[in-house]
Symmetry: C2
DNA sequence: ATATACCATTTATCATATAATTGCCCAGTC
DNA sequence: GACTGGGCAATTATATGATAAATGGTATAT
């Protein structure tokens, strides 16, 4: 649970907004009303409102009150916002959009990793490989192992914007599991695939690494689209 | 300028943090000190601190004070954070990273646009084409016209996560102009290129649209890397 | 009909008091 | 001597009340 009142309120309101309880464009209850509804002081309320404004969900102005911003203003790559979205309106459509982003990001990340990975990062990817192998034998969680593998590739890309998407990829994979009920098809469980990716990265063969990831995600997207 | 005190302070502190005035991992001045330094009340200070925490730049806890988070926690896709980064430490390295993200995103966005664009969105892309043509004749700003074209493609992708990156692409292109001093090479000024992209999207030829954008960005990345 | 001045509402800011959290030290105990 | 618990101190967290500023709307004057 969130520690302090402000964060608790931020989460409650954030979830409610994302869920659609306060429709876009409409005015939320005024400061005073929110205080009463949630039995907190104005300080806590105002701080929560500020945090939500910082994430682009709302904006508040004198006289006009607190209004819900259009979705285009929301910071969708903020992991809290992402969490609220996943919690309140998971859907196959959302999974599709997630996977499309992975489709764009991961092949390029693998390419960059092949070109830039440090020896240390390489060994981290190799370790991730072992985890996947162990997961096959039931010694580790398959999903966690796969996510770890992808995260290591993102880290090895050496690009801070890719690195920041680790949480995003994490969320995307955890959603996918809800719908596919197995890792297979979304992220090939066959460890030989991951070995190929690792080898390409190790050999500095960016094009191969990129293509490998691209192909497997291509299948994943096709699978999801077939269900829509 | 930012309207209210809280936002002003948020910007000042945000910029300072990104700039490195408060090194990562260190403790920032306490609430009380910040109040005095910037001559504002505790409410304003606390709200600014909350906004920066919401963006992942800092975290504050009793006794421990306000500490600067590692960069991996920053919400780099937040347009304000992006703005602060661009303002304080623009570099060719940063441009490279920006362009790599574009390299990942834009070809896929074009592909999706080809597959999903509505008639209205198609006509918006067509309009953007006219703007580029007019820009060639000096009737419109070239950079703005190019950014507009890319934004329309992102919008037509129908994927909210791509759509959200319009600001990112905007920032990336505006940085690139600082270094290349001309749009050429970063985003081909030849309008015939853009016509090809538009036609591919209009014809629903995702693969072609994707390849076209990929090729031109491939050149852009190569150009930047040659300067590093 | 238009522009200006005023008014009411809501957030913004300031100020102060009290509570809660937590790192740290110190004493006590085994 | 090392570990455990209590208590202290520093800092943020929360509550509350008062005042300022912003702004949409209204009324008024021309």
């Amino acid at each position: 649970m969130s520690k302090n009142l402000t964060q608790q309120l931020t989460h409650k309101l954030g979830e409610a907004i994302v869920k659609g309880d306060y429709p876009i464009g409409t005015r939320m209850p005024s400061e005073a009303v929110l205080c009463e509804q949630f039995s907190v002081s104005r300080s806590a309320t105002r701080e929560a409102v500020k945090m939500l404004s910082a994430k682009g969900l709302i904006s508040s102005r004198p006289k006009q009150g607190i209004t819900v911003n259009p979705e285009s203003n929301w910071n969708l790559y903020d992991s809290e916002v992402l969490e609220w979205i996943l919690k309140s309106k998971p859907s196959l459509q959302l999974l599709k959009e997630f996977t499309q982003v992975r489709f764009a990001i991961e092949p390029m990340a693998a390419k960059l990793a092949a070109e830039n990975a440090t020896p240390k990062q390489l060994s981290q990817i190799e370790e991730a490989l072992y985890r996947i192998a162990e997961a096959q034998e039931g010694l580790d969680d398959q999903l966690d192992a796969h996510i770890n593998f992808l995260n290591m590739i993102l880290l090895a890309s050496g690009n801070r914007f890719f690195i920041q998407l680790t949480q995003f990829v994490d969320a995307a994979l955890r959603v996918s599991i809800r719908y596919t009920n197995q890792v297979k098809g979304i992220s090939n469980t066959d460890v030989t695939f991951h070995v190929k990716v690792y080898n390409a990265i190790k050999d500095g063969d960016g094009a191969s690494a990129q293509t490998l990831i691209y192909e497997v995600l291509s299948d994943a997207v096709a699978l999801i689209e077939s269900r829509l």
